[in-house]
């Protein structure tokens, strides 16, 4: 069901509209008894409207909790789906996801180190530690991959090795020194959670995702050249080594920032690129904006479900992405098979 060129722009317009409507609806859901009108009067007051008459508590719930959370969910969904799409093309591996280069595993090690050593009070926050860990693990994987020859399968294998190493380090630290309460909090966070996000996170993540999207769009045709492998890309004039290194660094940095803000939310980066390819085909000029919109809409709804279904208790967002996403993906796969006959 590949969409024709003239309708791709229309599809994006609809997608952006759906994202705006989804976000507007998502901010009205929540355990606090606030009417739709009250929610929008509070938002209106912050963006320059008149005094809403809401209490400080109500104001805080909408402006400091719900709105940044919804926006961060959309941003992270967009970023993870984008990173997944890039890595699948670059490594020519349909199973590649943003965490294939050991980033999430390194982030967990970093977070656990901070939690256990109790550095959160001063030097480094949980997410700061996660970011440092993520970047360190990516560097280890990158050095290993290039020392081993630098081919796509070597990069994937180095990623597997790095992931295992940092998972083992995390377990080692947890079992040898942490008390159960500390680690339970860290593990919940690692499964992916958007509790307690701040505007600062939204701005950081939005900036890096926007920058990443623009850079990747610049490389769209170059990424197309990888369709038939790296020799083929090289014979089409692509400097394979340079382009691959640049894009690996960009996706790893994006992933590191997102993971340290919200934890390792799986599935989005693995499956949404495939879903987007079914709709608009494998050309990156069309694929990348599509996957970004799809990721944003998907995560807004997933996070809304995660925080409302068992309210006031929350499910880890990563659990909901899989529970909701796998059946949706199965339907796409089956329909595609039926269509191919």
């Amino acid at each position: 069901m590949i969409v024709r060129a003239w309708s791709v722009a229309g599809l994006w317009a609809v997608g952006v509209a759906v994202f705006i409507v989804s976000s507007a609806l998502a901010v009205t859901f929540g355990p606090a008894a606030l009417s739709v009108g009250e929610v929008y009067r509070i938002i209106g007051e912050h963006v320059g409207g008149q005094f809403s008459g809401a209490t400080r508590l109500q104001d805080g719930i909408v402006w400091e909790l719900r709105l940044p959370r919804v926006l961060l969910a959309g941003t992270c969904g967009a970023g993870l789906a984008l990173c997944g799409a890039i890595l699948q093309s670059l490594l020519r591996n349909p199973l590649a996801d943003p965490f294939i280069l050991g980033v999430s595993s390194g982030a967990s090690t970093g977070a656990v180190v901070v939690a256990v050593l109790g550095m959160s009070a001063g030097t480094l926050t949980l997410s700061g530690g996660a970011f440092v860990g993520a970047v360190l693990s990516f560097l280890v994987v990158l050095v290993l991959a290039y020392a081993a020859g630098g081919g796509t399968d070597r990069i994937v294998l180095a990623g597997v090795a790095g992931t295992q190493l940092f998972s083992a380090l995390t377990s080692f630290i947890v079992l040898s020194s942490a008390d159960p309460e500390q680690t339970r909090g860290v593990l919940f966070w690692l499964l992916g959670s958007l509790t307690g996000v701040a505007w600062r996170d939204v701005i950081t993540c939005a900036a890096i995702v926007a920058g990443g999207l623009l850079t990747c769009l610049f490389y769209a045709r170059t990424l197309d050249a990888f369709a038939f492998g790296e020799d083929s890309a090289a014979s089409l004039g692509v400097s394979v080594f340079r382009v691959r290194l640049a894009l690996l660094v960009i996706t790893a940095l994006m992933t590191a920032v997102l993971v340290s803000a919200i934890g390792a939310i799986g599935f989005v980066g693995l499956v949404l690129p495939h879903a987007a390819r079914f709709v608009v085909g494998p050309g990156h000029g069309r694929l990348l904006p599509t996957v970004v919109i799809l990721g944003a809409v998907f995560m807004v709804w997933v996070d809304t479900l995660a925080r409302t279904v068992f309210a006031p208790r929350e499910l880890p967002t990563g659990v909901v992405t899989a529970l909701l996403g796998v059946p949706v993906f199965a339907v796409i796969l089956l329909r595609r098979r039926a269509g191919a006959r």
Binding site: F228, G237, G281, G283
Partner: protein, 260 residues
């Protein structure tokens, strides 16, 4: 002048793959590279395409060293048809051929004449009817034609082909070779089939263990002795107005040597 390899030498994983090979094709001619498996045919094409660098000697395009040329500039002149180029993506024939325009694309995605080049490439390879078909629905011959069309969309002056007739039936083998022959490009073709080489090439280079053992006109190069030496098989060669024709015979070449 055009693409040439000067005395290139290349070792890979400690094994000597090419030991001083020179290829200097006449412009717009078709050069066949022959030799048994592992004789260095594909490696020579990789060096000519600039995918790998020789340790010694050099590859030149119009007298300029390929090692110093930007990759994109190189890709606007030299195209490689690699029979192993495969993909899992469901990409249409037309989009595969459009990949050939990547080296010509401008910064903001513009490409003057790109549409015409793609249409010409599709027409030359007889793929106009198939242009909206998906890659994974194509037969071996259709895929091979698509790879060639992608290379043609690069509008190269030099075309490198690695065993382009592999896995094709005889009609498609002839069709592909005629197509290569007809094009206004310098074509360097690695081939297994001696009779196809004799029929379609202006010049043959025979490699054995990374060395050139014969080079010249098909009629001069293809001798019973050379084929016995290089391939280790017996054959009879008949030459008529259409050129040499090779008929293989059973049995080891030593037996042939004793009987004559």
């Amino acid at each position: 002048m055009s693409l040439r390899a000067n005395d290139v030498r290349w070792t890979r994983s400690g094994r000597l793959v090419l030991a001083g090979v020179t290829v200097a094709p006449e412009p717009e001619s078709t050069v066949g590279i022959l030799g048994p498996n592992g004789s260095g045919k594909s490696s020579l094409l990789r060096l000519l395409a600039g995918l790998d660098r020789p340790e010694d000697g050099g590859v030149e395009l119009d007298g300029q060293s390929v090692a110093e040329m930007p990759r994109r500039a190189m890709a606007r002149r030299v195209a490689l048809v690699d029979q192993h180029a495969e993909t899992d993506l469901s990409i249409t024939v037309r989009d595969v051929v459009r990949l050939g325009r990547i080296p010509h694309a401008k910064m903001l995605g513009g490409d003057d004449g790109g549409g015409a080049a793609v249409a010409d490439a599709l027409a030359a390879t007889g793929l106009l009817e198939l242009q909206n078909r998906s890659w994974h629905t194509l037969s071996g011959g259709e895929r091979q034609r698509t790879r060639i069309a992608r290379a043609l969309a690069q509008e190269p002056t030099e075309l490198l082909l690695d065993e382009p007739t592999n896995h094709l039936d005889i009609a498609h083998q002839l069709e592909i070779m005629e197509l290569i022959r007809r094009l206004d490009v310098t074509a360097i073709v690695a081939l297994h089939d001696l009779n196809l080489a004799a029929m379609f090439c202006d010049h043959l280079i025979v490699l054995d263990a990374g060395e050139v053992v014969a080079s010249g006109d098909p009629a001069d190069v293809m001798t019973e002795e050379l084929i016995a030496d290089v391939y280790g098989v017996r054959c009879r060669i008949t030459t008529d107005s259409a050129g040499p024709y090779v008929r293989f015979q059973c049995g080891a070449p030593t037996a042939w040597a004793e009987s004559t």
